[in-house]
């Protein structure tokens, strides 16, 4: 019921303000900070540790990390903006052990390029501030590399597995613009990204069924500059 009321509110706002629309185009670049669920891959780390004949420790495990992106939006209506957004995320994990005899590490490198459609609705404008509700949804293309290394003395072994995948995501967020100059604004947003569909496969052999997939779901905090034409 709440969702229905929210949709009705947005549509009403769009339709009510549409008469005053002055078409504009704006570009933005943002940098952000995000957390990543990666629950499957954390589970994978635990499995690896369980299978090792020696004790190993988690050194990193998909720690919150920076992300970058850019977008352009066209003002369809007076308060409604729509346009594509690209973002780049990366994270990773490491577990391992190191002693006098050698070192073992199991690293997971993940980065994702997401391309989505970013919709923004200006809820309110107060002085130089404007407040927006935004929804971004699209496709994320993930590259996933697992790199295990064992080095004992002068002898070393290394195994690398490369995988790739995609996911459908949805990122609802709330943004605040502060107009620094007439055309240039400082933009900040906070939201939560949800991976809806996740699929992954080995690059070398796509027949292998992957049961643990990257999950980029997590909090998204961004700060950027937006230029408006």
């Amino acid at each position: 019921m709440k969702k229905i009321l929210l949709i009705l509110f947005i549509l009403n706002s769009v339709l009510a303000e549409g008469q005053e629309t002055i078409s504009k185009l704006r570009f933005g670049i943002t940098g952000g900070f995000g957390t990543f669920s990666q629950s499957d891959l954390k589970s994978l780390n635990q499995t690896v540790m369980d299978q090792l004949p020696f004790d190993a420790k988690i050194v990193d495990e998909f720690e919150p990390n920076f992300n970058f992106g850019g977008y352009t939006q066209y003002q369809l209506f007076n308060r409604f903006w729509l346009g594509p957004e690209y973002r780049y995320y990366y994270t990773g994990s490491r577990l391992g052990q190191k002693d006098y005899s050698g070192v073992y590490s199991f690293d997971q490198y993940l980065h994702s390029h997401t391309v989505g459609l970013k919709m923004g609705y200006v809820v309110a404008e107060i002085d130089r501030f404007s407040f927006q509700f935004q929804v971004n949804s699209g496709v994320g293309f993930t590259k996933w590399k697992m790199d295990s290394k064992l080095k004992i003395g002068e002898e070393s072994e290394n195994q690398i597995d490369n995988l790739k995948g995609f996911s459908w995501y949805a990122l609802p967020s709330f943004a605040v613009n502060y107009k620094i100059f007439d055309n240039l604004s400082l933009v900040g947003s906070a939201g939560y990204s949800i991976d809806l569909i996740k699929k992954c496969k080995y690059e070398a052999n796509s027949d292998i069924k992957i049961v643990k997939n990257p999950d980029w779901s997590g909090l998204r905090l961004t700060l950027g500059l937006e230029y408006e034409l």
């Binding site: 780049y88 052990q97 002693d99 980065h111």
Partner: protein, 635 residues
């Protein structure tokens, strides 16, 4: 517009640069783990447990190792650094392999056993098996494929404690055990002395041995197969000392055993000639070393005093064979022993044959002449060694011929094939030689043949027809007369017929009828007075001595010999005869009869079956003793 494009381009460049960012993993912190230094000691057990594996054949080598909590990663056997392949894995910590000597050259090789174990340091390398303790054991392997053939006794030594046996050390890997046994002629005295699995036990002192025992020590070495050796051994018993006392009893003194702990008693027993009386004593007091024997010994045969040490625990007969401990003794003065002997009258000498040699013994001086060797017929009873009446000539068979030699210088009178030889066996019953070289022989077909060895001529003699059978022919001392004893087997009577040698052959000159068949009777001419001494056998050990005049054939005198006494020696000078009791149980005396007076005297017992020669009151026995008969008259 251009300004906008610049901004857009700048943005894209910025985004592109930023997307090259990637996760950078943190350093893995170093875990403090003590690096292992010296490997801990482990328990190792090698089978066979020898310092050097000595191989004669195939061996199964087992290596057992206890590494405690350190896991064994790998274990390998190398022979001369060549991997021998995967070992057999037995129970925990036990590994084995087979070394085949046949695949190795004789000589020294090196077996290396390498064991890799976990260090248990807990490090990554330890956990993945890349960090290991390596234990290497090198084992010399000596290959000698001929070793099995060398398993023998190396020495048998008499030591104060007994008999020390030493044998070859077979410490090769396939060794299983030694057994050393002793087999003895003494019933129940055989025993196993050693049964050991210690290859280094190669000596043993048999301290249960006693002197005189013929033993065979046998060594068995069991390995992949077996090897054996045996040695016979005997330590002589020292001969006892026997003293013949004037009363003809003996005293015996002996040495105690070297091994008194093994001896139950000393057993002494006389061995006696035929008709002799044995005596035995068992002395349990080992400190006692002398004992008198009360039995009086006789003359004419050798006695023996046998000492035996009886082992403890032995309860069988004391008749087992022993080495040594035997002392021979006999009554009388020593002279050369002889198988056949003849008196050589007028020279104080005896012509003696013994062991292939003739010799002359002068009983007055005790001198023995140089000997003369012959090759007689092997069988003693076929030799027909004999002498002429005076002893000046003697004859014997050799190579199917009859030889007649002079006894004074051994010179050959002649040798002749007198016939009647069945291959190498002479078929003669009796032969006699005259002092002038004539030979008369009666073969088994009762044919009398006469030869003159001086001339080599055969002399035609009388022919006898059934039922007369010639039994004996003797020449008179001058050789001119030949007397023949005939038996009429139909009438069971005998005839003594004399023939003289005339120009036309033999002429019958005398004849004496005798009352019995006299198969056992014998006669001879006296070399002293030429009379015929006829030992007349009346049957059932019943003899008489008849003195027959050679010219008249009249029996001049006749003396009856007591029953069961057999005449064995005749003294032609003194006309006395010795008669030996030859019946069982025997008597402890013999008889001396004076043929002229008929006087009978009991004398020392004549024992044995040796030949006796009797001359001038002295009796010479083939056993190498002589006595003056008058010294041994009992009553």
């Amino acid at each position: 517009m251009k300004k906008i494009l610049n901004v857009v381009c700048l943005l894209f460049i910025l985004i592109f640069a930023l997307t090259s960012c990637e996760y950078s993993p943190s350093e893995i912190p170093l875990t403090e783990i003590q690096e292992p230094k010296e490997p801990p000691s482990i328990s190792i057990n090698l089978t066979p447990e020898v310092d050097t594996i000595k191989l004669s054949t195939t061996v199964y080598v087992t290596y057992s190792v206890n590494t405690g909590s350190h896991a064994i990663y790998d274990l390998k056997f190398f022979m001369d650094d060549v991997d021998m392949g995967n070992p057999f894995t037995g129970i925990q910590g036990s590994y084995s392999t087979t070394i085949q000597a046949s695949k190795l050259t004789d000589g020294l090789h090196i077996l290396k056993i390498r064991t890799n174990t976990a260090t248990n340091s807990g490090s990554i390398a330890d956990k993945v098996g890349a960090e290991q303790y390596v234990y290497e054991l090198k084992w010399p392997v000596l290959v000698n494929k001929e070793a099995k053939n060398q398993v023998k006794f190396t020495s048998l030594q008499v030591v104060p404690e007994g008999i020390k046996l030493s044998w070859y050390k077979y410490d090769y890997a396939d060794f299983q055990r030694y057994t050393v046994g002793r087999s003895s002629l003494i019933l129940g005295y055989s025993k196993e002395l050693v049964n050991t699995t210690d290859p280094y036990l190669t000596t043993f002192v048999d301290n249960t041995y006693i002197e005189g025992d013929y033993v065979t020590y046998s060594l068995m070495a069991y390995m992949d197969g077996f090897a054996m050796d045996s040695r016979s051994f005997v330590e002589e018993i020292k001969n006892p000392k026997v003293t013949v006392k004037p009363d003809r009893t003996v005293d015996v003194i002996w040495n105690p055993s070297k091994y008194p702990r093994n001896v139950k008693s000393c057993f002494l027993k006389t061995s006696v000639p035929t008709f002799g009386y044995p005596e035995e004593h068992e002395v349990s007091d080992l400190a006692q070393t002398t004992i008198p024997f009360s039995t009086k010994i006789g003359f004419g045969g050798n006695y023996g005093m046998q000492l035996r040490y009886i082992p403890k625990g032995y309860d069988g007969y004391y008749t087992y064979d022993v080495k040594g401990g035997l002392t021979n003794f006999a009554l009388g003065d020593s002279i050369p022993s002889f198988e056949r002997g003849f008196l050589i009258y007028g020279t104080n000498s005896l012509l003696l044959y013994n062991n292939g040699k003739f010799s002359k013994y002068n009983y007055s001086t005790g001198q023995i002449s140089n000997s003369f060797s012959i090759t007689p017929i092997e069988k003693v009873y076929q030799r027909f060694m004999l002498s002429s009446i005076s002893g000046s000539l003697f004859g014997y068979f050799q190579n199917q011929e009859f030889f007649v030699r002079r006894s004074n210088d051994w010179s050959l009178l002649n040798k002749m094939d007198i016939g009647s030889m069945d291959r190498f066996n002479p078929n003669w019953n009796v032969i006699s030689i005259s002092d002038d070289g004539k030979v008369a022989a009666i073969d088994i077909y009762n044919n009398l043949q006469i030869y003159d060895f001086k001339t080599g001529a055969k002399i035609s003699g009388p022919k006898f027809e059934s039922p007369l059978v010639p039994m004996q022919a003797n020449f008179s001392p001058d050789g001119k007369t030949l007397s023949i004893r005939l038996t009429n087997y139909m009438e069971q009577k005998s005839l003594l017929v004399a023939y003289s040698f005339g120009p036309n052959g033999l002429d019958k000159v005398n004849e004496l009828a005798l009352s019995n068949s006299s198969y056992e009777a014998t006669f001879s001419y006296s070399p002293v007075d030429g009379k015929i001494i006829y030992l007349n056998y009346g049957g059932m050990y019943n003899y008489s001595v008849d003195i027959i005049n050679p010219q008249t054939f009249v029996v001049e005198n006749s003396v009856k010999i007591p029953d069961f006494f057999i005449p064995v020696a005749y003294d032609y000078e003194n006309s006395r005869v010795v008669a030996q009791y030859q019946f069982f149980p025997t008597q402890e005396y013999s008889y001396l009869l004076d043929v002229k007076t008929g006087k009978q005297s009991k004398i020392v017992q004549f024992v044995g079956q040796e030949q006796f020669l009797f001359s001038n009151g002295t009796v010479y026995s083939g056993n190498g003793r002589s006595i003056k008969i008058d010294d041994y008259i009992l009553q």
